[in-house]
């Protein structure tokens, strides 16, 4: 555990991002027209610099920073890298997107937008490395409040304002409830250490611990968008500008999973197999939440007509898949979680970026507007189809090893003596795959089998968007066949600082 001064070195990622925020804001004040490229370019450069700083200050052993408030370990580093990559892709996509930076105010807003993006990434990094109840609250609030602002960023759209309002009301209540839960945990644990609080809650008598956990889950569940704390998700994803919805679908969610993992399982030295995972009531409760989330997300997505809402429900369902990791075999849980999130980054962003690119060219957001896109816009249609098939978890795309890793982790727990429940969980998970294909195939069907306007013109994407689509789609295809880079990175990142 390092003291304040010594922690500044390993804190480089956040420091570079913080400096970048000020630089971007300052440049925004000074620069003139054409500044959206400058501002967002600076954002990308800052993110790249922060990544370099992160890799440069990496050390073999896990350390606690600032007296135990944060951790610097391989687990947190993975999520920071994830957030940075997502930030870069979203920033680049936003340059050419009229939804978020329209031609009238876009240049003026670009600096604020870039600064907000950097701050969200920084907050997500903090969430992933928080090991104290205070820093957990701080980072969750940081990400949440910035998300509220970003959701309402498109000033001319009333839907965006509505999304922001719904988000802030829901999020305020959720985080407030979570804080109350944290206060109960402090009483149970006697310390503000996150892992200790989690262990205290899961091992306490059911009435007390269960209440505290339920309250904390309100906040965590809100961040992860799991049932029953998901109701904000479709409205916010639909109303927010699409690049920002893309950001929401990966960055806060991944950081939320990191935080939840530290909370529930960070205490045990579970990675050497000694810890048996969560005790039964908590494990059963999480399994129930996971099943409800998966099933509800998939069933609700079947009825959607708006593509962004469909993707929102799809991300709810994927969060349900990921929750299963928490009840899985401890040794396999972290690599499965990280592999899934790494692949999810690419395939989900590919889907969202395809929608960003198409909306920019004037295609509407409903499935009817997507009819016939296979002919009019072959490249984005193909990339979107690949992304959706990968999200469904079909080989040979990357979504399959991701799903395989999670389901295998669950069955491993069952095979190691967990009993039949885990096989039933795995069965529910794979049946949900079939249900999910119903709506993913529907989008592909509409694009390729649908007639569309007979005289519609061929759509030509902005070159930047084509590049971004390729950059996200190619790993979706390649990782399905060549998983070694990601799987070895995930295995190496299964290192958590156990707390004070």
């Amino acid at each position: 555990m390092l003291g304040n001064a010594a922690s500044l070195g390993p804190f480089a990622f956040e420091l570079v991002l913080a400096a970048g925020i000020f630089v971007v804001l300052g440049v925004g004040l000074l620069a003139r027209a054409g500044s959206r490229r400058v501002a967002l370019g600076l954002t990308v450069v800052t993110l790249a610099g922060a990544t370099v700083a992160l890799l440069g200050t990496a050390a073999p052993q896990a350390r606690g920073l600032f007296g135990g408030l944060l951790a610097r370990d391989a687990f947190g580093d993975f999520f920071k890298l994830l957030a940075a990559v997502a930030g870069v892709l979203v920033a680049l996509a936003s340059i050419a997107s009229e939804e978020v930076l329209d031609h009238r105010d876009g240049d003026r807003d670009a600096a604020e937008y870039g600064a907000l993006l950097l701050a969200v990434v920084m907050g997500a990094g903090l969430m992933a490395s928080a090991t104290d109840l205070l820093t957990a609250t701080l980072s969750i609030e940081l990400v949440s409040i910035l998300s509220y602002v970003l959701a309402a960023f498109s000033r001319r759209s009333s839907r965006s304002a509505e999304a922001g309002l719904k988000y802030v009301i829901y999020g305020g209540v959720a985080t407030g409830t979570m804080l109350y839960g944290f206060s109960l945990l402090y009483g149970l644990a006697g310390s503000t250490d996150l892992a200790a609080a989690g262990r205290a809650a899961t091992h306490a008598p059911v009435m007390v611990g269960g209440t505290a956990l339920a309250l904390v889950m309100a906040g965590l569940g809100f961040k992860l968008a799991v049932v029953p704390f998901h109701t904000w998700c479709p409205d916010v994803y639909e109303g927010a500008p699409t690049p920002i919805a893309a950001l929401f679908s990966i960055v806060p969610k991944a950081a939320g999973f990191a935080l939840a993992y530290r909370f529930f399982l960070g205490a045990g030295a579970g990675l050497d197999g000694v810890d048996a995972g969560l005790p039964q009531p908590t494990s059963a409760a999480l399994a129930a939440v996971a099943v409800a989330t998966m099933t509800f997300g998939n069933l609700a997505a079947l009825a959607q007509q708006n593509v962004k809402r469909l993707l929102a429900y799809s991300s709810i369902a994927h969060a349900g898949n990921l929750l299963l990791v928490f009840v899985a075999a401890p040794g396999a849980a972290v690599p499965a979680l990280l592999t899934y999130l790494g692949i999810y980054l690419f395939m989900n962003l590919a889907a969202f970026l395809a929608v960003v690119a198409l909306v920019r060219e004037g295609v509407g957001e409903t499935l009817d507007d997507f009819a016939g896109l296979g002919r009019r816009a072959p490249v984005p249609a193909l990339c979107l189809t690949i992304a959706l098939i990968s999200l469904a978890g079909l080989p040979p795309l990357a979504g399959f090893p991701a799903k395989y890793a999670v389901i295998a982790a669950v069955i491993a727990r069952g095979a190691a003596g967990g009993g039949a429940l885990f096989f039933v969980l795995a069965l529910v998970a794979v049946l949900n795959t079939v249900v999910s294909l119903g709506y993913y195939a529907r989008v592909a069907r509409v694009m390729y089998f649908g007639a569309g306007h007979p005289h519609a013109q061929v759509i030509r994407l902005a070159p930047l968007h084509t590049v971004l689509l390729l950059v996200t789609t190619i790993p979706t295809v390649l990782l399905g066949v060549y998983l070694a880079p990601l799987s070895s990175l995930a295995a190496r990142s299964a290192q958590l600082w156990p707390g004070r």
Partner: protein
Amino acid sequence: MRNAKSPMSWSCWSSVSSWSSRVPRATLRWSKRAVVVAVAVVALGMAPARAAEPGADPVPIAVSPGALTFDQPNQARQLTIHNRAGAPVTVRAARLVSMGDPDFSVDLVANRLIAADGTLSLKAAYTPRVAARRQSFAAIELEVQPPGQTATQMVTVALRGGEELDLLSWLIFAPLLGLPLLWLWPRGREEGLRWLALAVTAVPLALAAKLLYEFDPGFTRVQGNFGYQFVQHLVWIRAFNVEYHVGVDGLSIGLVALTALISMIAVVASWSIPTTRNLRGYFAMLLLLETGMLGVFVALDLFLFYVFWELVLVPMFFLIGLWGGPRREYAALKFFLYTLLGSVLILLAVIALYYASAPTTLVDGSAAAHTLDIPRLVYIDDFSKHPALLGLKFAHLIWVLLFVGFAIKVPVVPLHTWLPDAHVEAPTAVSVILASILLKMGTYGMLRIAWAILPEATRWAATAVAVLGAISVVYGAFCALGQTDLKRLVAYSSISHLGYCLLGMAALTPIAMSGAVYQMISHGVVSAMLFLLVGVLYDRTHERGLDAFGGVATVMPRYAIMFALAFLASLGLPGLSGFIGELMALLGSFGKFRVSTIVAALGLVLGAAYNLAAIRRVQLGALPERWRGVLTGHDLTAREWVSLVPLAVLTVALGLYPSPLLDAARVGVADLLTRMGLPSTGLGGGL
């Protein structure tokens, strides 16, 4: 603009440059940069991969090399064991481990002490004794006792000798390599796409011919390599202990050859699809489909099998949905969802088998806690002793999952409702592939995975399978009798024919199972012919109803001959291939399942009824006047002859001279039955 008339301008390059000149330069520049970026991202990702792998339990010794490869016979190589621990380490034993008679010899040691930081050298030699076995795989197991402990640890060194045969990989991936050629083909010259696809599908066919020629029908498990030939075995995804393991044996060689042949015939059958209907996409899907099918039949690792199994779903969805008939979207979605349901059940079973398997080593010598390797699961693991789960024995539960998953593909009544719609709405070539090959994937999967890995569960469920087979035969036949659409009739006849397969597979006697394998191949050939013939009529008249025709033989005599040949083969006329398979399946199962066999034999009568009725209603009688102009003088064209004649020749040849195929099938089946502890020779079946 680029100048297309450079001195070295092959038409391909000039067309590439003309294509690229039509794409805006900005996009081209950005696309190239994107590809560079993506490659860089992946390459950067490989850097951490090459860094230290997460360590397993540290064993105090290091062995170099981790795997020994011999490419020449009578070669000897040195194996060095370094003692990395600070104290002396004892090597308790060095054993040679292989499946079958090994071609290797190793210095066998016992209780040798290695000093701290010392080394011990062992010599391994490769002296092939069995000429037929062109490759040998074995391993040296070193039992090491670390200092100060009584328990020993195992370190394995993989041995590989003989030829590096990658024929199967070329076979599987040749169609995929043709995909970029399709994409690069110049716009505006779409007619050439058909010839390109034909050339690309000719490659696996040629390789399959070579495979057939070099295949040794007498090679069994006793001779090594678990009985597989042309084995290629590499580590693929270390994180999941997945290997790239492919090989053929008597069960799969016929199916591989059939797949290659039918794929090429399907391309010939696709000639009539107009160039305005996105031929590029059509052939791309067809080639992807071919890779998936070929991969399924040669994969020997469960993960690899599953990847190829699922690979066929997406191309079929688009092929049926984009180039199909009036209700194509409904049929495509139904097919997709129904077969995916089966596939995910198989996935569950695969993962469960993985976690129930014993620790072993991967092919490069590294240790694995569990395995997905089919030969190892078949021969080394025994799942019948596993604890019970959900009220059933573990092996039984997994068997049921696997069976349901494969049964949806076969399809077995009552899981068959996707088949008629898919067949009817698919274009002719896709129907041919669906009936010929995809359905066989189900029965092949049953044999290769469910029967072989879980023999005791198979015996437990044999009666149920036999009953389902008999039901499929009769139900399919009755449904076929009632059809007015010719294509739907053939679809239901497929269900009926594969019921015989199922019955034969359930009987677990040599004759019945050889008959089942034979029936798979025979039905593949015959049903391909049937769908092609229906397509011939449909191309001319756009009509498939049995009531709409009559007397076609009067204006298209040659077509009538082929038609009669195919439908008679379908009903199992002696002298044609259908007879052998059905006869053997029924003969072999009579002893075990008297009632089911009798019921299935009744299906023969029904088969005669609907097949002969089809011949009568289409070919005989009076020709409706509206077809006279369309059909007269439009007998089979050269292209249609080319697609039908090989199949007709095969039908007759397999019917009159079944020995080659039957011998290969018998050997494959014999290994399977020996593994199941059942008699693998003799008549069996209580005859």
